[in-house]
Homo-oligomer: 330 residues x 2
């Protein structure tokens, strides 16, 4: 790690040093050239990194700084959840404008530290520099018992497709945030889900421990964009049952129109729920809720490639990817 | 990893997939939610990340794209060298403008892949998105035998301070690059060192294997900025002998004036040489060159804090940090 800004590093270190109380395997964190991490015997290391950029992933004038801090770590940790792993530590690269090194940075670090404690994932190092916009990159290091990782490539035709939680909630939360004038009120669970998402670590670990998922990933860009990726990795197609999907969507009282709820469930991003496939013989082991988190069967994998939507009238139509893609949406 | 740009990912994957021929411990790379890495028993994992940003770390209209690709990985791997480790794999986060996804990206990936092969460090994953400037963040994962890592904190008063290579060469290379009109001629070794730095991995591993360095780091921001960091970690001061330092500076025929060479050796950045301390009883084990790389004793650690320069007339003066700091230089 290059550490050109000693004062910034001290600020980050001061806010985060107590997080080293976690038994994380970290032997040497911020302040040396690199971090040292003692891997556990019998485990594989999971590595993932994610951008979190002003104007693309958050809005400086809308998103509270502590939400930016929370979310940049939580969404990267969601990839660890998608692998069925446990986060162990993270590296954070931060570029910020000079004028944000005061209150904004303090609030950002408060949110980051809160996520770090909640996820039991201490900071191990990073790099800081200056830019006129906030740029964040987070690398999370996790662990999973050797051979138990959930991957995208094992789903078979006939496997049942599940999603966790309620799809579209985070996008509804974003809409609520955009509509807010003045102080943000966090009593709206959709707003909380958008600002402070919780990676589905317990669910991922349970699926991995019990070898229940033949293929899995997290939903970050919207089901219609992410499901084709899962299918491509597994070399299968899929049919999604609209009626079942609607019951996995944001609640009826929030969005009364069926079509709108369906569109949200298909295309809204940022939910960080898990999408996973289960062999038919194991489907009875999947409960309706896992630790309070709704699990919904929404369709099944098929031999014929392509993703189809099964309409309530019994007809099918091809599903178009309409989720988040910064290059396509440009 | 979020992978919103399937086409970009395919391009990166296509250019890099053969790098998986390295025996790297990688079980699953690009294309899943995260990478899986099998750590070796008896080794610690080294984690480091580095920004490489347009306008701050490179100039799009000056630096060839393949140099940007090489250097973003090489300089991150330099932190692994500073720990005495071996790089095993890397994650790359890339944000680029739409107009660079053609030839520029191809050349960038050529340079990145060349560095990846040279350093035996295959790509394990990453994240891509769109920005109007090129933003790069590289995380390198390395390994070192447990307990053998070179750290910054072990130097003692009386330890001899060494540097590898010739300091100031990379900054001379940058000056040559800025002065170049038209095609870049790589027969100038200083230009090569600026564009295609080689992390001092063999030296770092040798120092770690033989437990020779009591403290070590790599020189990225200039000796006058980096040495105080080494001293602070080790809770010591240092005295640098100007005459000895001058002999570790860029060659006489390149910069005839002694003062200018000294200023380059003290303050020039981007050299990615190693700075290390050796106990006096081990100093006889440090050769004048290691595998063709010059090693120079430039001073010693002291009990009294602060960094002093010993002038040829026998007087000393305090050394001011004048290396690279984007916040101070703003």
């Amino acid at each position: 790690m290059k550490t050109p800004e000693n004062d910034l590093i001290r600020k980050i270190l001061g806010k985060s040093s107590r997080s080293n109380e976690f038994k994380s395997g970290l032997r040497l964190g911020i302040g040396d050239d690199a971090a040292l991490f003692a891997p556990r015997s019998g485990y594989e290391t999971i590595l993932t990194c994610d951008w979190f950029l002003e104007e693309i992933h958050f809005l400086r004038d809308r998103h509270p700084a502590d939400s930016v801090g929370w979310k940049c770590l939580a969404r990267a940790a969601s990839d660890i959840a998608a692998m069925g792993g446990t986060p162990r530590c993270f590296l954070q690269s931060l570029a910020i404008p000079n004028e944000l090194t005061g209150r904004w940075l303090t609030d950002f670090l408060t949110g980051l530290r809160r996520a770090s404690r909640k996820l039991k994932c201490p900071i191990a190092g990073g790099d800081t520099t200056r830019q006129n916009r906030v740029l964040i990159n987070v690398t999370v290091v996790g662990e999973v018992r050797s051979g138990r990782a959930l991957v995208r490539s094992g789903a078979k035709p006939g496997d049942i497709i599940y999603v966790s939680g309620r799809l579209g909630e985070a996008e509804m939360g974003l809409a609520a945030l955009r509509a807010t004038r003045g102080k943000i009120r966090l009593n709206d669970p959709k707003l909380r889900k958008h600002l402070y998402p919780e990676p589905r670590l317990a669910l991922g670990q349970w699926l991995a421990d019990h070898r229940l998922a033949t293929g899995a990933m997290d939903l970050s860009d919207g089901l219609s964009t992410d499901l084709p990726r899962l299918c491509a990795s597994s070399k299968v197609g899929a049919t999604i049952d609209e009626s079942k999907l609607a019951s996995a969507a944001v609640e009826h009282h929030s969005v009364p129109k069926w079509n709108n709820r369906l569109a949200l469930a298909l295309n809204a991003g940022d939910d960080y729920e898990l999408l996973f496939a289960v062999a038919p013989r194991d489907a009875h082991k999947i409960p309706a809720t896992y630790r309070g988190l709704k699990l919904t069967a929404i369709g099944e994998m098929s031999r014929s490639r392509g993703i189809k939507l099964l309409h309530p009238n019994g007809k099918t139509s091809p599903l178009k990817a309409a989720g988040w893609d910064p290059f396509r949406n440009a």
